[in-house]
Assembly symmetry: C2
């Protein structure tokens, strides 16, 4: 029989998963401020992977899900247990490839120790959207052209492992998401001098080809909608099933109030 463990990062997602999967073990980590729900609970540390793997096995866990924002607390090698001492060199080497690299190495460590790694979107299908116009006005022809151009930019850059998002307005590229994330890009777009601007424009969010959706899904939420409105955009476009819609009701409510459309398209 399968038992799930929820490896809890920041935000509301871990608790949503816990509510939907009551038998799941809820795992919290030192240095992260997470309030565990009523589920059975294991508190451990990134410094003690041995303790964590043992705790999971004892609880009968067979599969795990990484949920919520992954903060990287300061680790003290003096506190590492034997398993973490053994894994640390791999994790450190993987960090050269950035957070993505580190996550891949952590996933591999879980899999080698017999745990399957699931994606939050598989366990909570309401996290993502089916294709369709979720809210707001119908995208105009100009918006459709901007969407196509933004998708061109994303699919062209994707093989380089860059760009989960792009903003195009009036055919002109105004923002390409880099390591700083979507909100930083939207703040940058909001500062575009008026004279340069050739239309309202759209934000397109999509995973990069080969992105491991089990640990790293593009996400939008109420803040994204507000930042998009501040940047003067007509709307947001998401890949159906592949982009997390955080706080769905609140996000849709704000988008409607701000007159910003949210469109989910088949990837």
């Amino acid at each position: 029989m399968n038992r799930l463990a929820i490896l809890a990062g920041q935000g509301s997602l871990p608790n949503q998963l816990a509510a939907a999967h009551a038998p799941a073990l809820f795992v919290t980590f030192e240095g992260l401020d997470v309030s565990p729900p009523d589920n059975e609970h294991l508190h451990t540390s990134y410094e003690r992977f041995g303790e964590m793997f043992d705790g999971l096995s004892v609880a009968g866990v067979t599969e795990v899900v990484f949920a919520g924002g992954l903060a990287r607390p300061q680790l003290n090698p003096a506190n590492f247990d034997a398993k973490m001492m053994q894994l640390a060199p791999r994790f450190m080497a993987a960090m050269q490839g950035g957070d993505d690299g580190l996550l891949r190495a952590v996933i591999a460590a879980f899999e080698e120790h017999g745990f399957a790694v699931r994606g939050a979107h598989e366990l909570l299908p309401g996290l993502t959207c089916a294709a369709g116009l979720l809210t707001g006005p119908e995208p105009s022809d100009a918006d459709r052209k901007d969407i196509a151009r933004a998708r061109d930019v994303l699919s062209t850059l994707g093989p380089l492992d860059v760009g989960q998002g792009a903003v195009v307005a009036g055919g002109q590229v105004l923002g390409i998401e880099t390591a700083q994330g979507t909100d930083a890009m939207l703040r940058f777009v909001a500062e575009t001098p008026e004279g340069l601007r050739r239309g309202k424009g759209v934000l397109v969010k999509a995973p990069k080809p080969g992105q491991d959706l089990r640990v790293d899904m593009p996400a939008v939420g109420p803040k994204t909608v507000e930042a998009a409105a501040k940047a003067g955009l007509a709307g947001l476009v998401l890949d159906a099933g592949q982009v997390v819609l955080l706080e769905r009701e609140e996000t849709l409510r704000r988008a409607k109030a701000l007159g910003v459309f949210i469109l989910a398209e088949e990837p």
Copy 2:
């Protein structure tokens, strides 16, 4: 016999060209604050292309160079002369393709009226750089890797007519130049949260494939160097012969003072 006209935009470049080409006709436009040098001088308006073409022909001009920053003053159709009335619809349609589109249409109009259009870099070879380390410390191995990755981003995006510049630090892309230009991108990079940053990084500037260097060359100058230093970068990389180095001495002096390298590479 060939005679050159310098179509003067903002900045010091038109006067540098005039000094190097004394027989050239110096053309200024209403609405642009340009002080003409001692060369023979024609003052005209973007609203009167007919008057301008006639003035050039009368002065024996056979070739023109667009020099300096091109401001786009407010035009009043009521003041258009007959030639501009005829050209305006084409220019307006071309503006849908942005400043690049408009410039291509303006170039085409000059060529149709018998004027060859030259590039400032052909007439003033010192504008650009020969390959080599121009100033600052030798780029490190990490810098070389960042340069290669930034070049990958630029060459991948180039066919989409996006990206004259990119910033990569520690293998991580922190900025891709969009319509807002290099300085805006560098300000954005300077705001990267410390925790995200994985190295100093480099700015690479190169023309897009097919970019018409006669009217639109990537350029760096003292401000670029200062913005790069503020963004914590190790250095700037330019395509030799294809990127304008503005105020060369001042740019090199500041780069040296700030410990920022400037490297010109064969494209």
